[in-house]
């Protein structure tokens, strides 16, 4: 197998700017310079395989189009259907987080430091065979507890 060079430019830039909260006017979250963030849930997040037909107006509003970020898309415009599955709130202390799933469930979690940090490695198996560390993620939001019902 020929060896492949793994470029590190994007990840290097991300490392140099410390993990930062998004500006104050936005809900505070922990993400990298490139806007990457990890969320860990115990169990499964069940999503429909395709966008269902015949949705009413309210259901239709849950769906949107998602364009892959430049970080991974390499100037290619990749668009996929996306569905809203919840709302995340991170408390001011940047340690505790709450995830509301739909209107019936609530998960309580924490913001954790990942040690050792995780690198996001993108690989292309096309002719270019490009490999690249695009980001380095040092924080994740973890939900370990069972969901709590919302009355």
């Amino acid at each position: 197998m020929p060896s492949r060079i793994v470029s590190t430019e994007k990840a290097s830039e991300s490392i140099k700017s410390p993990t930062q909260p998004v500006p104050d006017n936005l809900p505070s979250i922990v993400c990298t310079k490139w806007g990457s963030m990890l969320l860990e849930i115990q169990g499964e997040l069940n999503l429909p395989p395709n966008k269902p037909e015949g949705l009413n107006e309210q259901e239709e509003r849950l769906f949107t189009k998602f364009v892959y970020p430049d970080l991974v898309a390499d100037n290619e415009r990749l668009v996929r259907d996306a569905v809203k599955f919840g709302r995340l709130e991170i408390e001011k202390d940047m340690k505790r987080a709450t995830l509301y799933i739909s209107t019936s469930q609530r998960l309580v979690g924490t913001v954790e430091t990942i040690d050792p940090p995780l690198g996001l490695l993108k690989t292309d198996i096309d002719e270019s065979g490009k490999c690249e560390f695009v980001d380095v993620i040092r924080k994740k939001v973890v939900f370990k507890l069972r969901p709590l019902p919302i009355m």
Binding site: M1, P2, S3, I5, V6, T8, E9, A11, S12, I15, V22, P27, I29, C31, G35, S36, M37, L38, L39, E40, I41, Q42, G43, E44, L45, L47, P48, P49, N50, K51, T64, F66, Y68, P69, V72, L78, R80, D81, A82, V83, K84, F85, G86, R87, L88, E89, P116, P117, L118, G119, L120, L121, K122, D124, D126, C131, F133, V136, I137, K140
Partner: protein, 354 residues
């Protein structure tokens, strides 16, 4: 912040693009920070992949988990999940190995061929190791490139070349009046002077690729000075002498014969321990036996060793069991599991369990 997710997120973004999460150890993190070059390598498509920095090699292992790990991208105050991971890649330091597949062994200079050349560069490309490790290991394996083709030099060719180098240097030292302290002078020689002398004196002209490889293997360089590694030199001559002698030799005769095979005026200390793992002694006789011929399986290896000799001194058996003692515990403690270990006076003796 509202959270969205694409339908059926996966680590595979498109048919050709995929994402992986990799646990970054301090060396890789440092390399990323310095924008240093990293490489993904493997000996072949069937072998395990490694990630290498300029000086270290890390084996890549996949660690699966059952949690739902989502990668989100933040945009305008909302975030969308576009990849999901059920595993992480873990990097563990590993011993570098040079992939010698398809490389011929060169026994004589006249055997140079141009058939299907494999260059040193392609050997490096196909070896799961870093550049610095390759540079360090290449001379140890007698690997050279001659006329665009990589070869492993046969030990006898290496010995002949080393003899020729030593003779040239010693001759020059004698001429310059250093006859009485040759062994001391061999521990501190100017590198350029050595190269010049070797070029000037060699009776059989070896290509500089070979002489440089032999010098790199049998000398140590510090501050531009070369020092001959006598122990390694003795090992080379000793192993070849044992290999070429099919009959058992008396231990005393062996030391004498070994001195005779070495260049005139070269008198290093000769100790049998320098040849460890390459010989067996019994009743004052010595014969060749290579540790690499034994089984890799500990039980089989121990039984093979006791077939060769019923009773071993601890220090004699040590080099033959070092490879299977993977946890590097003390040899006597390690052997208790497989054999009887007892003390006789000041010595520790190992014999088979009955």
């Amino acid at each position: 912040m509202d959270l969205y997710s694409i339908l059926e997120p996966d680590h595979q973004l498109t048919s050709t693009k995929s994402l992986k999460l990799v646990e970054l150890n301090s060396e890789i993190l440092q390399a990323i920070e310095n924008k240093a070059e990293l490489r993904l390598k493997s000996a072949s498509t069937k072998d395990y992949p490694v990630l290498v920095t300029a000086s270290k090699t890390f084996k890549i292992r996949q660690k699966n988990h059952s949690n739902c790990v989502l990668l989100l991208s933040e945009h305008n105050g909302d975030a969308s999940s576009y990849a999901r991971f059920s595993n992480e890649l873990v990097l563990t330091p590993t011993e570098p190995t040079i992939n010698l597949r398809g490389i011929s062994v060169l026994t004589q200079l006249s055997e140079l061929t141009k058939k299907g050349p494999i260059t040193l560069e392609s050997v490096f490309e196909n070896s799961p190791m870093s550049e610095q490790e390759f540079a360090r290991l290449r001379p140890e394996l007698n690997l050279v490139e001659l006329e665009g083709n990589a070869y492993v030099l046969h030990e006898e060719l290496v010995r002949d070349c080393l003899s020729s180098i030593l003779r040239a240097i010693i001759e020059e030292l004698v001429e310059s009046g250093n006859e009485m302290n040759i062994m001391t002078r061999l521990q501190s020689l100017n590198k350029q002077w050595v190269t010049d002398v070797v070029e000037k004196h060699q009776e059989e002209s070896y290509p500089s690729e070979i002489t440089q490889t032999v010098l790199a293997k049998y000398t140590k360089e510090s501050d531009g000075k070369l020092a001959f590694l006598n122990e390694k030199v003795v090992r080379l001559y000793g192993v070849l002498l044992l290999k070429n002698n099919t009959q058992e030799m008396k231990e005393d005769d062996f030391a004498l014969n070994l001195k005779l095979t070495m260049p005139f005026n070269y008198h290093p200390d000769i100790k049998l321990e320098y040849l460890k793992g390459n010989f067996i002694t019994e009743n004052g006789f010595i014969r060749y036996f290579a540790e690499s011929d034994l089984s890799e399986n500990p039980v089989e290896r121990i039984s093979e060793l006791f077939k060769l000799k019923k009773e071993w001194k601890l220090e004699d058996i040590e080099p033959f069991v070092a490879r299977i003692n993977t946890k590097k515990i003390k040899t006597d403690k390690f052997l208790i599991k497989y054999a009887k270990v007892r003390r006789v006076g000041r010595q520790t003796v190992v014999c088979a369990k009955t």
